[in-house]
Symmetry: D3
Subunit: 137 residues, 6 copies
């Protein structure tokens, strides 16, 4: 019987695939790109982003995707220095139906708790994401 930590076991391949399906429904390619981009350096980190973060947690029924993305925007803005992850999750927020105006409002709201510098950095990241979407149209 393979060890639980063995990411090449049938069970873990199934868990990872399920997480990738959850991720695909939210964020077509950019999120999956994060997982792929880890294949050479840390396949286990890529596995757990998919299997744990999306398969185990994001997919839980207790909170709708819109609510999850609002929590995520608050957390990533407050953490700071997470601009690459904010890009992914601002995109995911759009994908689950949060409007551009609501995203910008959420980042303004976060200024009260995390301070203006964090909110400014997050807002400039949002502009980049929106701009990329406009260019892709």
């Amino acid at each position: 019987m393979p060890a639980q930590h063995d990411i090449a076991s049938a069970e873990n391949i199934a868990r990872r695939r399920h997480g990738q399906n959850v991720l695909s429904q939210i964020d077509g390619h950019q999120g999956e790109a994060v997982v792929d981009s880890l294949a050479d350096i840390s396949p286990a980190l890529g596995h757990h982003v998919a299997a744990f973060a999306f398969g185990d947690i994001y997919d839980r029924p207790g909170l709708d995707p819109r609510s999850r993305q609002l929590v995520t925007l608050g957390a990533l803005t407050a953490l700071g220095g997470c601009e690459p992850q904010l890009r992914v999750h601002i995109g995911a927020a759009l994908n689950v139906g949060i409007s551009r105006d609501e995203i910008v409002e959420a980042l303004l709201h976060a200024a009260v708790y995390a301070g203006f510098p964090r909110a400014l950095n997050a807002t400039f990241t949002a502009r980049d994401v929106f701009s990329d979407r406009d260019s892709a149209d």
Copy 2:
């Protein structure tokens, strides 16, 4: 004409009162207690919690109270060391209609981004708030 920074001006008294009304609709007494508790040490901080945080920002129409509280829970969990503010905002989350199960789920979701220690501290704070509510019934 009084200076903009003069918190005793008629304009600022009106702004503060409006913010306190917004706050009262969300969080009856506990939130207002924060403002009152600043009267002796920093009335200006109390003013801006009411006038700015609630009157200017929270009251904006671009995001519903439920969404604002989800962003706040994400931010406060990620910041860490904000247990007193988490108590106020877990209470406010309940008041705007977020269920206990959804709050607990939001804090589990935050573990992915802010790590397990932050999520554990926030979850234990949620238990205290729920327990206080049960005792008050």
Copy 3:
């Protein structure tokens, strides 16, 4: 009567203009550039940077601009990941009469509390600001 949160009301236009005047006295163009740069993506965030951060808080008489900038340098260094805001505020520190040597000393002092990596990042940002000033002469 317009809502308090309406940033297009006469009251809020006056509050924003006052904040922009405060900002102009400290930091000629770079600070105002931050406000302008938000016009397309989050005019409300730009409004509150001017009206709240500068008009309400910075302009208060209880602390001189030199002291405010020292608090700001300590806070931004400790937060980390706020290099764009550090650029603005190292420039503002120079503008209110804090010397280059004092700024560099303040960032060394912050190393004791925020650790060497944060102090190093802030010091390299200071070098960029000083270098830009030299080039502009």
Copy 4:
């Protein structure tokens, strides 16, 4: 077939039990107490502390327990506000064979990167853990 997120599935019960076994080998009762203490408020968080943090990650063969605890001490000291988790992991560090002197030295080392206040708080937490051990003898 039960959903991956269903913590009552046979697969997840097995994953959780495995994680609890890993945890028991490191930290007899205090670590398990964290899991038990979540049973009423967030059984899913308790599940993932056991199944993910210990069963999936801690148990991986790529890094020995001593090394894992050193990384953990560095991370928890730098995060700040994680004194309850530091208590658990300073105890776990002792259990995997890191001496008291080495733990204290690790926290002094962290002062260089995270600043003296974080190192002081972590060191006072270490004293509490050592003192509890002495009392228990």
Copy 5:
């Protein structure tokens, strides 16, 4: 010749004593209490708080004590979870001639950069320090 790291060498005893003198001039007993309180658990951390933080850095001529304490208040407020160190440094701020009103104003100013929760926690700590001083009179 003793190693540089040997805190019992004559050179390091002199460095530590000098740092303790610097500290005594700022903060009579409370700061020294921090050093003494480390004697049993981490004498090396106590040594470096005195010899490095106060003897090497605080004593440098490039910035006056008032300015150093303002940077420190900004950094400690932004870090969060450093209430014990804030107590010491709010006391030190009073000792170097920063008034109660200026301290409270500095913490309000920090709210712009570090968010309201951090400013609230720091302000409540200031109230405790002021109250202790009043009781001691």
Copy 6:
């Protein structure tokens, strides 16, 4: 007798040289580059990186270099926004005998405590360092 803070004193030149020797043994040129790169902007910060961080702390006998680097990786990953310092210390970790696989595993381990975004940023930094080493061969 020169002041303790005088970094041009014979004593401080000796302390700095000793720290630079410690640093050279760990990290040939990249670490020393950090010190040199501060010569124009903050020689005192460069002095204390060498004399304090490496001469006073890193050189202490109570913890082996491997253990110190593991604490450092945990701390820098958790702090966030310290990618330049992570580059130096991932290189130093390789130099003291921590394998690439162990470094990547340490960063995955840190995800449990500091969250996935911090671990992702650190892992991408590790890839850059490894890639630079491969190019240099």
